[in-house]
Assembly symmetry: C3
Homo-oligomer: 267 residues x 3
């Protein structure tokens, strides 16, 4: 047990976001761009999307965090991500990477591995299949070798292999890094019924990283508060279209309604 | 009269989608990407957007259906569509094509005709103007020659010319192919007040094709269930912003509320 | 005092849009594309997005207005904007430009200035920071020199420098051009909590320009009616996700609910 009161920490992080209004530079996929911008605003941060190689580095250097998402990747976008990532790194701007669809095609797996290799990623967030595909892609380390179905084993293997904090999201979210493992018990199955729910979780991590603090803790706090907003948005069992609008409402209301129900434990 | 009970067939198709959760590979326009992904999830299928030439073929080969939409076409996207389409064809994956804006510019008309010429399209879906423009583009066959305003004549001419099943959507949707003509009487005028309603109809057709069965019947079932969800979402006469969210809610509720009110007849 | 009854003028402009259903050609950013299309439909106009250099000119020549937005600019998109803009100019089609993020990166500032220099822009709309950055970018004319924080001074300086009508939006929107200054007092702080609210305001200006009339007046009417819809959508203090859907509902209801509360004055 760490003895940390995660609800208090989450409230403090949200207050820092509200005070600083950090600029979050997203290079994300075209399916979820609008949702990612709106969830960033709802958390009290300021989103900017800048994809052109001509400006990616300049924008990243201004940002409080850089969020990279390969959901609809192109060669030009990888280039922009590398330029932005290097500029972020030079300024100490934290970087979160979402390897959407890693494992589904070689292009996605290889692109995610290239970004992990060339940039000092702060937090890697994906589902079990995506992170497992990245870990399993090496010659020495198949998915079976890292525990298969267990998100703790997958997150741990990825953290060890890539030297980054890793968040594997699912029914329970697991965040691993620096010898620490945190489990986040917030969330709702309706998140799986809308597109972009994972990408918004990644955005949340970027925002909490911009608020400062230890990456593993900040990632867990981001997932806990986002998951708590999802629980509230799911009250009354709405359809997914209504849930999607209410999720943004509830993220925006976190400061007012409080985050006492954040459920995170140190394992 | 065919004697088919279309409501029963629609329920069976939805059940097959729920059981198989087919992957639907969309290469669609940037206006509607999010809506198309969410409606695919709402129908119980799994959407993936993959546009890069580097991965389009690999993704299409994994899919249960490929849905192509030229609403914000670029040269690179045509290339990706051709690569994906050839990979789909090689695996017997059905392909639905939405020629958004055909007739408005030469680039759109020519691109749609090229896709029809080079790929074994399973179903072509558009409005009367778009399909009419494709039929009328040949030297032998002007719009007047194929019946002008009558969607049955336009659909029939396109089916004959391109050798594909054709769905012409409007107040009444007409699906023609293989000597059969089905008329779908579901839908609501609010669909015309939101962007992406046609593109979501195309997505629905892709999903029903992935569930297996005759293309003409599957296309009609897709349009009937989608139109029924629209009727339910329009209850109480909401504004278009609210209708858009409820439409996704009602598509997701089709399995639970049933599809007895699907109105399709064989002409 | 001009003696114009702006509410009556706004109602007349909305009626002309409803009658003509003008085609609005948008080349806009990928964050807000869907919102911009839906607000265009809600105002009673017809949106089309066409970004490919192969068709941009052809589409712009068909349009009632061309709306350019540099929010997620690329080199290819600038090229498409120039082609579309020249075609629009040749046909007398009005052009509205939204220099999203001007001042944040050199690429955005330079691209906006290039569009202003090479195209006969009808109305330039941005917030105080963006328009101030464009005015301040010259060697002779820093932001301090044009009044710093005062939107009237910024708008006036931009109108003088670029020879276009300029709308600077904020708590009060200021529209300047042709020796006239109009102030628009409609709007709501929730607009600042969703992405795309400025881009939708730009779309509204494009739609009102397509309805005909003096650019300064039309821009003010567009901002007044859009702001009025926002006030109505904000009733009951919804969260931003719900507000976003209701904003579209209320724009669509403007014709029915009327626009008597439009508050515009000549300064």
């Amino acid at each position: 047990m760490s003895g940390i009161d995660f609800s208090t920490e989450a409230a403090a992080a949200l207050a820092r976001v509200a005070e600083r209004v950090p600029l979050i530079h997203h290079i994300t996929n075209i399916v979820v761009t609008n949702d990612v911008a709106n969830v960033t605003l709802a958390f009290g941060a300021s989103p900017v999307m800048a994809y052109a190689p001509e400006e990616a580095a300049e924008m990243a250097a201004l940002a409080g965090a850089l969020a990279l998402n390969i959901g609809t990747l192109s060669r030009a976008e990888i280039e922009a991500m590398l330029l932005a990532g290097r500029a972020a790194a030079a300024r100490g701007v934290p970087i979160v990477l979402d390897p959407v669809g890693a494992g589904a095609t070689a292009f996605r797996t290889e692109s995610a591995l290239r970004l992990l290799s060339e940039l000092p990623i702060t937090v890697l967030r994906g589902n079990r299949g995506e992170i497992g595909a990245l870990v399993g892609s090496g010659q020495m380390c198949g998915v079976d070798a890292v525990g298969g179905e267990d998100p703790r084993a997958v997150a741990g293997a990825a953290a060890a292999r890539f030297g980054v904090a890793v968040a594997v999201t699912g029914a329970i979210d697991i965040v691993v890094g620096g010898g620490q493992t945190l489990a986040v018990h917030n969330g709702h199955p309706l998140l799986g019924r809308i597109t972009g729910s994972g990408c918004m979780a990644t955005a949340a991590i970027g925002i909490f990283l911009a608020a400062g603090g230890d990456p593993v803790t900040q990632a867990a706090l981001a997932l806990g508060t986002y998951g708590l907003a999802a629980e509230r948005a799911a009250a009354g069992d709405p359809g997914p279209g209504t849930f999607r609008a209410r999720l943004i409402d509830e993220v925006a209301a976190l400061g007012q309604r409080g985050v006492a129900e954040v459920k995170i434990n140190d394992e």
